[in-house]
Symmetry: C2
Subunit: 242 residues, 2 copies
DNA sequence: TCAAAAGTGTTAAGTGTACACCCATGA
DNA sequence: TCATGGGTGTACACTTAACACTTTTGA
């Protein structure tokens, strides 16, 4: 029943954010085009992973399919955050050359999603897929730098209003890991004592009787996030911006 | 240079929010299809205004064009908030009939925008365009109800983190008007004294030496919003959700 | 003179912020 | 035994929330 023909002018791009307990990283794919000489590719840079949407595929399905091919996972937090489709969005010579080599129309709408997960979960099979620190990205093809910037802006907003930060952490995490995740996304520093006080009194940040050993000197208590408790307790706090 | 041919499978839909000092309203267009008998249209309901994107048109341009045709204005706050493009999103018989009558493909991606303005600013020339209270919408064609719900969700978020509420008000407004705007969008009630205190001490809510007379018994002081001052003073308050 | 909306203060509770040292462990 | 990251408490400032009456005007 599925129609696997691709829609020529509609694609989905995936911005995969991975947290490695230090930084936020982006998963990128190598884009290489050889024409004359295998040793000197005409194009050799990095791009987000994306693909055209199938004729009978939902947008979310398409995003999940692309993400799964990339990482092997499907049940990962994702959000459709924006669609990029201006006619002039691909203007660079290399990008046009690339599209030509693929026989793709020049004007493509990209529905962009971002995904959040702990970077360690992803097995990088080969060198064609790599994590890059968000703060130190390589040269990117197409308008993918803009897409990433937009994704990160949206993420920051999201982190400030919903408990998506936990998507970056393993099921069991320490409070310091949580703190560093917040600091990385919001690009701030937080006072450790104040942070812990605040975190500990949230009922949905549940202390476990387990400690993480090995990774540091003193074993650190582990916590888990309970979505159930969160949904039951946190009444939408109506913070007016102004 | 502009290519005015329409892209068959890509459209823009506009959710126009208008505040009338009491409620949030949505601007809808009548959708009517006559086949056999002019007196008994096959379709007679309401939809968001939208159109297909031109071949050489930016998405934002397309949104502005549609909005301008509808209201006569162009410099109005707008936001692209989501793209709707699932294959099953149009499944209702009437909707399919409508598309057939227009010779349009069944699978169309709709890039959806919302606009904010005071409802009074819009001149409704004829009965084919009307404001409906958000809380009392008529039966809507396509998946436009879902689009509106999504738009409103996004708007609420936006209102809590940025000063977009002022887009709903005329340049000069009273504090009570501002309060009602907040109450309408966030669906709460706010204590009048506390609200005024908070508002008055914001430097970017500027008191004027003018009063609004006539509309009520006691003349009310007018205020204006200064975007300049807002941008200079309000350092992003890093409110962590949790 | 009255109806209707505008405008005004105080207090108590809670929340955020600044700040520096001891603890438990592995090497 | 020491180096490393884990973990803790207090005081002050600020913000929020609850609460009811007076003022000004047009009709």
């Amino acid at each position: 029943m599925m129609d696997f023909r691709k829609i020529a002018n509609i694609s989905v791009d995936c911005v995969v954010f991975g947290f490695d307990n230090i930084n936020i990283n982006i998963l990128l794919s190598r884009r290489m085009l050889n024409m004359h000489d295998l040793k000197y590719p005409v194009i050799d840079d990095w791009v987000l992973t994306g693909d055209h949407v199938f004729k009978s595929e939902r947008l979310d399905e398409s995003a999940v399919r692309i993400f799964k091919e990339l990482t092997g996972f499907e049940d990962v937090y994702k959000k459709q955050f924006r669609t990029f489709g201006n006619p002039e969005r691909i203007k660079n010579e290399k990008d046009l050359l690339w599209l030509k080599s693929k026989g793709v129309e020049a004007r493509v709408m990209s529905v962009a999603y971002y995904f959040l997960l702990p970077a360690e979960r992803v097995d990088l099979k080969n060198g064609d897929t790599k994590w890059f620190p968000l703060k130190n990205l390589p040269h990117l093809g197409f308008d993918h730098e803009e897409i990433i910037v937009r994704a990160f802006d949206d993420l920051k907003q999201k982190v400030m209003s919903e408990p998506v930060i936990f998507e970056f952490l393993p099921d069991k995490f320490t409070l310091n890991e949580l703190q560093i995740a917040y600091e990385s996304v919001l690009n701030t520093t937080i006072d450790n004592r104040n942070f812990r006080k605040k975190a500990i009194c949230k009922s949905y940040i549940v202390p476990l009787d387990e400690k993480r050993v090995g990774s540091s000197k003193k074993p650190a208590r582990l916590f888990m996030f309970s979505k159930d408790i969160y949904e039951k307790t946190s009444s939408k706090n109506s913070i007016i911006s102004f």
